[in-house]
Structures are given as structure tokens and as C-alpha cells.
């Protein structure tokens, strides 16, 4: 599903954020990216979404070399990739329903699809009672559920999560991880960058550890350290 071939990323005039990375992630895998701040986790994720271009090497997503992708095709790549952030990135002037619906609306989905899919996904994340609330009225955990709902409402093949529990307390984090696990069980490939030792050690999934841009460990059913 995801393949990195000798990928190096150097931001202008800086030390490499990623050096000669070779990774192969299969469909349906759940992968943790761990490592200190600045080790290259975020770069790894941003490369998959084509938010950044590799300085060297090739990246394949769903069998396609995304380096060879025309600019106008990038949106179609992103429709297959859900993205969850540490800071949620919800629109404060839209309700929960509207926030999720927005993701379908702007890729041209007809309104009857929106009307049936949004309530279904909000039920999945357990927010049926909050559809008309605004993000400011929700707890951090609830906001992150909305953001997961938005990322997953289009049923993407891949879900990228950049420190999704970074702003949440441990108990709330467990809830979010249960949700991501459930999404992973539907066959969606999940790649998650995290600092959360407890989560990694509990879930026991594949762990890729980065240190100063090098992949120093790639272990199935791994732990944080």
C-alpha cells in the first residue's frame, strides 16, 4: 500500500529530515512512527500526502509513484488518504455535522450521499448527540473524534495521524486509539506518529523508530523502546 524507496528529504539548507528511508507497508497494517521531536516522523507523514516532495528517492502509494503525479491529480490522491492532526484543525464556525459534511461537499459529493454518510460516521465515532454542537463546545477528545470522522467519512484506503493523542489526557487517548483500531479493522491502513509510550506498548503493533532521519528500528508487534 505504501512503499518508500531510498527516500531522502532535506529542507533548504538544513540537516536531512529523512535519510535513505526504505519502508514497505502492506494494506491493512497499523504502523507507529516513534522517535524524538525532529527525528523525521512528521516529514515521513507529509511525504505520503505529497505535502512535501522527497529530495531523492521514490514513494509509492496504492501502487502509484506519487512523485510522477501531475499537480492536478494530487487532490485525487488525497481523497484516498485521511489525515488526523494533533490540533484537530476543525472549522470553529461550523457545527460537528457541517465540519464532517464539508469534507464531502468540497470533493463534489451529492447532498443525498452527505445526508446518509455523515450521520453514519458520527455514530461510528459516538457523537450522534453532538451533531449540532460547535467545536468550541466540545472536549478535546470529542473534537478529535470529529476530526477522525472527517478523515474517515470518505472511506480512505489510508489514514495518517500525526500525534493524534498529543493534546489529550491518557483516558481520552485510549478512546481515540480504540477508534483508530476499529477503523484499521475495516481494512484501512493506519500510519500514526506518536510520542505516547503507553499507547505503543499496549497496542503492540508494528513500530518504526526514527532517529535524526534514520530508520533505526522496524519491528512488528513492537514496543516504544
Amino acid at each position: 500500500m505504501i512503499k518508500l524507496e531510498n527516500v531522502t528529504k532535506i529542507y533548504k539548507g538544513e540537516v536531512p529530515a529523512l535519510r535513505d528511508a526504505n519502508v514497505n507497508i502492506d494494506k491493512g497494517e497499523f504502523v507507529f512512527l516513534v522517535g524524538a521531536s525532529g527525528s523525521g516522523k512528521s516529514t515521513f507523514i507529509r511525504l505520503l500526502n505529497k505535502e512535501e516532495e522527497p529530495t531523492q528517492g521514490r514513494i509509492f502509494v496504492a501502487g502509484k509513484d506519487i512523485g510522477a503525479l501531475n499537480g492536478w491529480k494530487v487532490p485525487y490522491l488525497r481523497r484516498n488518504i485521511g489525515y488526523v492532526f494533533q490540533d484537530f484543525k476543525l472549522l470553529p464556525t461550523k457545527t460537528v455535522f457541517e465540519n464532517v459534511a464539508f469534507a464531502l461537499e468540497v470533493i463534489g459529493r451529492p447532498s443525498h450521499v452527505i445526508k446518509s454518510q455523515v450521520p453514519a460516521i458520527l455514530e461510528l465515532v459516538g457523537l450522534t448527540k453532538k451533531v449540532d454542537s460547535f467545536p468550541g463546545e466540545l472536549s478535546g477528545g470529542e473534537q478529535q473524534r470529529v476530526s477522525v470522522a472527517r478523515a474517515f467519512v470518505n472511506r480512505p484506503l489510508i489514514l495518517l495521524a500525526d500525534e493524534p493523542t498529543g493534546n489529550l489526557d491518557p483516558a481520552t487517548s485510549v478512546g481515540i486509539m480504540r477508534l483508530l483500531d476499529r477503523i484499521n479493522r475495516t481494512g484501512t491502513t493506519v500510519v500514526m506518529a506518536t510520542h505516547d509510550r503507553g499507547i505503543v506498548d499496549t497496542m503492540r503493533r508494528r513500530v518504526i523508530e526514527l532517529d535524526k532521519g534514520h530508520i533505526v528500528r522496524d519491528q512488528s508487534r513492537g514496543v516504544y523502546e
Binding site: G71, R78, Y83, F102, V106, I107, G108, R150
Partner: protein, 298 residues
């Protein structure tokens, strides 16, 4: 592409409302610049119509009697063409003279209806080699006595002054209008930029969930286009109003006979209207186009 019209209308509407003061500034600038532009054009057209006979260095016109014979016509023509002081002679026959008459007196329908083609005097338009008024005067007078000649009419000093002033005024007005048009483009550009800044979160989310570039751009482009078109509409009303006021104030004034011929034809007005709409669209598209391509990094 499945572009939801309701979505575009809603987004554009929100942008226009949210940025009301800047939107107003853009629209007013477009309107003022296009009004100046249109007014200059209409004025130039009016003066052009009024002085159509005197274009291309023509200094005097030899009007023949409507009853002049072919021999008399030939003789005057030969005399003009053989004269070394004359660089150009053009003959205006009866039908052409009638057409001109109709345009010149478009305002006085009864006058046009009172005469027919046969009553029109054919004429020779003469462009002399010199610009010396005395020489031209003498040259023209020489034909006054010829058989079949009704009268020799010289370009009024007023006509010349009129043409000169119009030319200078048009250049100045169009110059100012062009500056204002540039200002309008920049204002639209900044208004759109503000709108994009106000919606940066939405734009970020749109990019991440895979909205196409055009889907993101179109509402902003249409916003700019709306500025241009609304501005042009105001300008059209302004130009029509100016034309109307001019019509009432000057053209019907019996003391200012020269403005009798100052009539804008319907087709000239439609041309001006279309031009203003076109320019409005162009300004809007240009401003928003630059904003979208420069500041919307998709």
C-alpha cells in the same frame, strides 16, 4: 467536474458580505474608472460625429448646387485636382450627403423628413497642402465664382479647437482612467487576498481532503468577477446619465449650434456598454486571477 452551483453561490456570497468595505472600495474604483473611460469614449464619439466632415486635414468644402450639371461637376473637380496647392480631393455624391445630413440632424426628425436625397448638394472635400489660413482662404474663394458652385465652407476655427481639445481631454481622461483601472485591479487583488486569508482554515482543510484546485479557486474568481461586473454596471448607468445630461443641457441649446451634431447613435452606445462590461470582467478576472495564482498555494 461536479461543481455544485449552490456551493459556489453560497461561498461567493459569504466572501462578499464578510469583506463588505473592501468590496465596496473595489466596486467604486472600478465604477469610477470605467465611468471616466466611458465618458471619454462617448465624448470623443460625439465630437467625431459632429465634425465628421472635417477629418483628415480637410480645410474647406466646395458645395455644388443640387441642380449642377455633370460638366460643371467635372470642371470643378478637374480644377481642384490640377491645383498644386491641393493635396487631396474627395467627392461626396447626393446619397452620401443625405446619409451625413441624417446623422448630423438626427435630433431634428422634422428637418430630415422635410428634405430628400435630390435636394442634397454634392460636394468636394478639399485638403490643401498648406496650413496657412490666408492661403486656404484665397484658394477656397477662387472656387466661389465657378459655375454650379453653391458655396464654399471653411473649417471653423471652433471645429479645429473642438477637435484639439477633445483629443487632449480624451488622452488625459483615459490616462487617469487607466491609472484608476490599475488601482482597481490591485484593490480587487487585495480584497480577494483578504477573503482568502479569512478562509485560510477552510482552504487548508479543503486541500487536505482532496478538493481540486479549481474547486477552491472558483468562488474567489467569481468574487473578483462580481466586483468588475457590478462596477461596470454602475459605470454604464453613470455614462448614460452623463450623456443624457449633456443632451439636455447642451445639444438642445439654441445658442450652441455647434452641438447640434453631437448625437451618440444607438450602436455607438451599445458598443460603449459592451466595452465597459468587457473591461469590468477583465479587471475582475485579472485581479482575482493574480490573487488566486499568487496567494493560493494549492
Amino acid at each position: 467536474m461536479a461543481m455544485n452551483i449552490r456551493y459556489v453561490a453560497r461561498e461567493t456570497g459569504t466572501n462578499l458580505r464578510r469583506n463588505f468595505s473592501l468590496t465596496l472600495a473595489s466596486v467604486v474604483t472600478v465604477a469610477v474608472s470605467l465611468t471616466l473611460f466611458g465618458a471619454a469614449l462617448v465624448f470623443a464619439q460625439g465630437v467625431g460625429n459632429m465634425t465628421a466632415r472635417w477629418k483628415g486635414g480637410i480645410e474647406f468644402i466646395v458645395f455644388m448646387q443640387p441642380s449642377a450639371t455633370q460638366e460643371q461637376l467635372d470642371s470643378v473637380q478637374r480644377a481642384l485636382e490640377d491645383n498644386p496647392e491641393v493635396t487631396q480631393v474627395s467627392y461626396v455624391d447626393k446619397p452620401a450627403a443625405y446619409e451625413e445630413f441624417k446623422q448630423l440632424f438626427a435630433r431634428s426628425k422634422d428637418m430630415v423628413e422635410a428634405v430628400d436625397e435630390n435636394a442634397m448638394p454634392p460636394s468636394f472635400r478639399v485638403a490643401p497642402a498648406t496650413s496657412d489660413a490666408d492661403v486656404i482662404q484665397a484658394l477656397g474663394q477662387a472656387f466661389q465664382k465657378k459655375a454650379g458652385v453653391r458655396e464654399v465652407v471653411f473649417a471653423f476655427e471652433t471645429v479645429r479647437t473642438m477637435q484639439r481639445i477633445t483629443r487632449i481631454a480624451s488622452i488625459v481622461i483615459v490616462g487617469v482612467a487607466v491609472f484608476l483601472l490599475v488601482a482597481a485591479v490591485l484593490l480587487i487583488l487585495n480584497t480577494i487576498r483578504m477573503a482568502m486569508f479569512a478562509r485560510r482554515r477552510e482552504i487548508e482543510v479543503m486541500k487536505l481532503v482532496g478538493a481540486t484546485n479549481w474547486f477552491i479557486r472558483v468562488p474567489f474568481m467569481i468574487e473578483g468577477l462580481v466586483h468588475g461586473i457590478v462596477g461596470a454596471a454602475v459605470a454604464i448607468v453613470g455614462v448614460q446619465g452623463l450623456n443624457w445630461a449633456f443632451d439636455r443641457g447642451l445639444s438642445n441649446n439654441r445658442d450652441l449650434k455647434i452641438f447640434q451634431g453631437f448625437v451618440i447613435s444607438g450602436s455607438q452606445m451599445s458598443f460603449t456598454t459592451l466595452l465597459l462590461v468587457g473591461l469590468g470582467c477583465l479587471i475582475g478576472a485579472l485581479g482575482s486571477g493574480i490573487a488566486v495564482s499568487r496567494f493560493l498555494d494549492v
